[in-house]
Symmetry: D2
Subunit: 309 residues, 4 copies
């Protein structure tokens, strides 16, 4: 009988998450990819692998904040590259705000009159942006006159958030650098604009490049876990265009974007091999799934595996 034979999944009684994932791993399509992704994520936790985490999408509003801050504290993430929006929502929760479950079929004009901003089926009370403003203006006020990099700005914010579950705070405490290339494309940018009406603030758009490249140069082996695509995916992968290493050794991307429209977000990881972003012998898998489903499963399975060691 063939070694490659599909092993039909068997689901009986009470199972742990990794028991389930191992059943899925013998299957094809998405189930097989989840299985492969867990194997790669587990292998990526070796000591000599520098682990990048690319975070796009509205993961914080969706309820993934503690998972991500926990991953930072548990050593799953050495370098975080993310969008301004995820950090905005992280700060909002860090200053006492919260996100609520709503409906994706709500009347948006009516929501507007109730000062509710909608993110698919998540509601956010607009008033929390006032709390964010107070916090951010203070952060900007506390900064020196010198030129900052965006990573330094993220670190300043993390230092000023008093919330163990905060992504920025966790990164600050664990010395995990946070890169946020399009920081101005978020309410952090609008807050900077407000602050700069009357004050000096200089954040060098290219200020992180050297440090980021040095991280890549210095790593023995590298791995990337990419949630969605966007700027974080490209920023993580493009580092390999100039480093002599030969591409990432491990890459997992969780995405629902498709390849056929040609955008980078949905591009296959094979395509990235032609560029040298993903190594020729790299272990790489693209999981076509909503990240709020795939990430918790994968993390729970790998946690379980590591706990058993």
């Amino acid at each position: 009988m063939s070694e490659n034979r599909i092993r039909h999944a068997s689901i009986h009684g009470t199972m742990t998450v990794d028991q389930l994932v191992r059943q899925m791993g013998g299957c094809a399509f998405g189930a097989g990819r989840i299985g492969a992704a867990c194997d790669i994520l587990e292998e990526m936790q070796a000591q000599d692998v520098l682990k990048f985490f690319g975070l796009s999408g509205a993961m914080v509003p969706a309820g993934m904040r503690n998972i991500i801050s926990g991953m930072i504290r548990d050593g799953y993430i050495d370098v975080l590259v993310t969008t301004g929006a995820n950090m905005v929502h992280d700060i909002i929760e860090g200053v006492g705000g919260c996100h609520e479950k709503g409906s994706e079929t709500a009347d948006d004009i009516e929501l507007k009159t109730r000062h509710i901003n909608r993110i698919y089926d998540v509601y956010l009370n607009e008033d929390y942006f006032g709390c964010l403003e107070t916090k951010m203006q203070r952060v900007y006020e506390g900064m020196d006159q010198r030129t900052y990099s965006i990573r330094e700005l993220m670190s300043e914010i993390g230092k000023n958030i008093d919330d163990r579950n905060s992504i920025l705070r966790s990164a600050y405490e664990c010395d995990v650098p946070v890169y946020c290339p399009a920081v101005q494309d978020s309410v952090l940018g609008l807050q900077a604009w407000l602050f700069k009406q009357a004050n000096r603030l200089n954040v060098d758009a290219f200020g992180d490049m050297r440090e980021f490249m040095d991280l890549c140069y210095g790593a023995k082996r590298t791995g990337a876990l990419l949630i969605g695509g966007g700027v974080p995916k490209n920023y993580v992968l493009q580092s390999m265009l100039v480093t002599p290493r030969g591409g990432f050794d491990y890459v997992i991307q969780i995405t629902m974007d498709r390849a056929e429209t040609g955008g980078l977000s949905g591009a296959t990881l094979d395509e990235a091999r032609s560029w040298g972003k993903v190594g020729e012998d790299a272990k790489a898998v693209q999981v076509i799934c909503d990240a709020t489903i795939a990430l918790p499963i994968m993390l729970a399975a790998v946690n379980e595996r590591r706990g058993r060691k």
Copy 2:
């Protein structure tokens, strides 16, 4: 604090699948939908609910065969509506064939020369269709001269498969009717064509309607778990257009098809309410996910809940 507040998922240590699902249930987007789907699937298991299962996609090649036959044996399915293709692959495994894990980027011309048929990343040796032919010609030979319904044909096949993990065999043993409206749209149809070259075979395309409608009429409450869309989704839901019941009480659809192109497969369950297919007060959720990922999770979680009772 709001009752609707997003409860950020917490993933630590070894978790059972239902512990994970309950963490996901406090979140939004796909995670929240998985949580809601598990609650509905659990509630659907009440004694007075007639439970329909719509099965499309290549679930058997992917490795979901034992899950589905197990669901039949465990009482999750009272009525099965499926595609000819899934039954073809069920029979192939039932006569000793198997599916293998391959690569979705293989050279298909080369596969053809090796007599391998590809289904995304699954390979199927063409020779197994010979075994299928032997079995099916015998099944057709064993049938009477009378007019059959498709459900009766499915039952005849199930009777002739000696494999506890077979979907058709399990349905046969458990008295679960199997409807397969487009049976001729599969190798079963090609086998019928072959048989009819020299023999009589009459299977009435409309022969199942009365029985199927009577099932719907007779049910106190009804629930549907739909894997993908296609004929199975529509065939299950359309029954409510003529029954006076007022639509399904519970509906879960797992699909990756999108609504905007207007096809029935990707249509929202809200749309189905305008038709009366889904009841006004029905509990319904559409899980936007690869079914090979979502179905195992949901089944494992609900198994665990039922085991605890």
Copy 3:
């Protein structure tokens, strides 16, 4: 300079559709696929090519009815394989009903109270199903006691519709056979059930297979234009599993379904080569696009090309 160089599209002044398509043809991604599809569709119109048309999705409600009946009358279609639903909506328009433009964000419970059935952003007044019932009961009454094939049933309906724009009428007049494998999966099935409460009606599910296979056997060359996936795609392509011809010579599929979930609807045409459904040297392209956008463009471009000859 490379022959393969991307020719950046130039859009200026008033252009005919084919002028636009030829600009798109020098581009990549979807634009390039539209260009390739038009070339194949044009080439497929050669006299010795038997032209199959697979029609799924809600194309009639969307406003594509006249396009399709026009294609039959203009010789683009030799064999039509479709879903019951498209034929139901064709008949509804043929008996005086109409579809209306509505909103995909409507309140479906409220629509239900207004007797409006929604198909994405199309509304259909439920009362038209009454007209359909009158027509269909008469059609069934007019049929003989013998066993019919589904193709013969479709022909009976077409004969009874007095509307030049009707797909079924056009097919009847032009001797284009209409295959509808899952006919019972539609209101035609429900009408058959109603009729069979008190009358005899026998439609052989496998009654079309021989005729359909003979068509494939007899063709010198074959082409398929597939709108969406579903039963029509598979039914058209599977014919090549038993014919000795070696697969379709030309295939165009317009679809938004994706390949990664493993279903046949989204499967690539390369995958179909491993099965021998698409020939090794076939010209084949999959256009990833809403068919209500791609089909009118392609037809207008090819009309223009043929008109110039």
Copy 4:
């Protein structure tokens, strides 16, 4: 007869693009959306509307470069917000490089050995990055010691490209500001890193905000045409969070991203109304289509309409 009746499209003879679009406009699903988008795009060309253009995806490699530079020269674009990648590929063509049509099923390891970088079905010879380096190092060398905004950097590049079809050159000549919030997330960022090894370069990440906000404040009415999502979509729309205007008056987004995963790229334009990014009475439509198909059609149709005036 209802005013809202679906007008089935009629395709006959040789048609101009706008004749086709007007046929599509009477239909539903994607065809109807194309019709609505053309009406909005036409109306947006009124003199008092400030027209934003958000450009993401790999539009330049795909062959849309001349369309976009033409739109700038023809007055369709007052403000351009884009990704670094599109500008990189614009510069590559501007310094003599070209993109070629390849295959999305190529062997990427083999492409790598041939120094070919793949973007879906587009090939790019790696050597062109050498030409880009020469150009960009010269541009950086020519800049003053002062702090630049990203828009000023884009203008510097445009000034230095001698190619009428260049997007950056056209914007430079037509005084259309180009914002590129995540400029460092591209080879422009890698080039800046290289330059900064030995030289000073200071580009303020927040340096564009005031100017960009002033543009929004100053506009009487505003419109946005968004190709894909990503940073350009958010950056354009977020401006309305702080301006007192009440959201965009016209918005068209062409995208294939879906809403259910909660990301901003696929978010509906209705959702944007809850935030005040899109006005309560705004005319807005989301076209679910590959932009390389939808954009050329829409532009050709509106060109034709404007030419007739």
